[in-house]
Symmetry: C2
Subunit: 247 residues, 2 copies
Amino acid sequence: MDDIIYGKNSVLEALVSGEREINKILISKNIHSDVKLNKIKELAKENGIVFQFVAKEKFQPYAEYNHQGIIAQISPVKYYDIDEFLENSYENKSMVILDGVEDSHNLGAIIRTCVCAGVEAIVIPFRRNVQVNSVVEKTSAGAVNHIKIIKVNSLVNAVQKLKNNNWWIIATDASANDNYFDVNYNDMNFAVIMGAEHAGVSKSLLKLADYTVKIPMLRKFNSLNVSNALSAIIFETVRQKLSNIKK
Amino acid sequence: MDDIIYGKNSVLEALVSGEREINKILISKNIHSDVKLNKIKELAKENGIVFQFVAKEKFQPYAEYNHQGIIAQISPVKYYDIDEFLENSYENKSMVILDGVEDSHNLGAIIRTCVCAGVEAIVIPFRRNVQVNSVVEKTSAGAVNHIKIIKVNSLVNAVQKLKNNNWWIIATDASANDNYFDVNYNDMNFAVIMGAEHAGVSKSLLKLADYTVKIPMLRKFNSLNVSNALSAIIFETVRQKLSNIKK
């Protein structure tokens, strides 16, 4: 089970102190509104933390806690801020941006792959993407502690900021003309955007990409798991880097 | 839940007819030995089907069935025979051999990757490797029906047969000198052996390999998930194949 903080006072205290990283706040639909609850919602909004009003059945797994109809799910890692990240200078570094990866096991596998391949950071949005929870931490085999996870409110804004800082943006799209290995990944900072398992990368992000690439399929079966797709691409960038050093 | 056949008569009938593909037979330790049970064990041995004597608690999930202490787990696919496979001639084809992959989700992801990358067949051993079950089928997103799954009693014998038929054997090993992208995969039939998540490829198989390769790690974190490791290697072979055609 995920780490949680429960009860109005504790959740409010966590928001005020800002010491714990909150993935999401669940509020029972049956809870009575009062000053504390309003303060919680206000602080959550300010800090870009998602809160959801849910049926009381959602609190079943937490029955043993005196939760008073409010629970904050805590992340096992501290998320990074994109502005803070960009204050440092980078050279020939890579980054992975996830646009709608919903499965915890996939995120865990992606984090492992990224750490092995020397990726600098992974960017995830607050909404419509799985957050780093205890399943992700476990599936990542501890890799989650060896990479920067950047959480952002808007992927479009984040990509724009990266571009302003001379990062090159590579988006994956099944209908692209170029293959992922046609790009020269050396001598630049680049970010690879991976899309949702079914919908792919959002159009608004595809528009911002410097390169759009596909993974060529040798059979008429276009359904690679997102972590396996990323692995193919990210290790091609490793191959190019190591081949470049040899020259 | 997996497809099952239950009760002495039905399991015996399935073994005699050979029409259903049996992954494993579970026999309760409390069952009384008789002519039928002896016949079941005899036929299972003959056909290389694993049978296990288990505590009656193992039958809990099947409580609704009148199983009489015996259950056969059925595969959703028909397995291929290696001799049958090798009777056909192959040119520039690839194959993946799994030596101790225990997780159903990993096998499912590997099958998806192999189908997308045009791999001809996947070889798994009867023992110490997950079989194709309903979780594998689901995780593979149906890919399991688009590739030949070959089940063998001995991986060593299978690899020897492949070598005798001019297949080249590439084994992965974290301590190898060469990187996987140093091998030229064009103009040959080749089989890539992937090892167990922790133990790696068995020594007896490493000895038979024509090439031993590693995936270079850019951080001191050597723990790639097996399906992601395979994806990096197998799409490098695709890259080489497509680059070769262009020339």
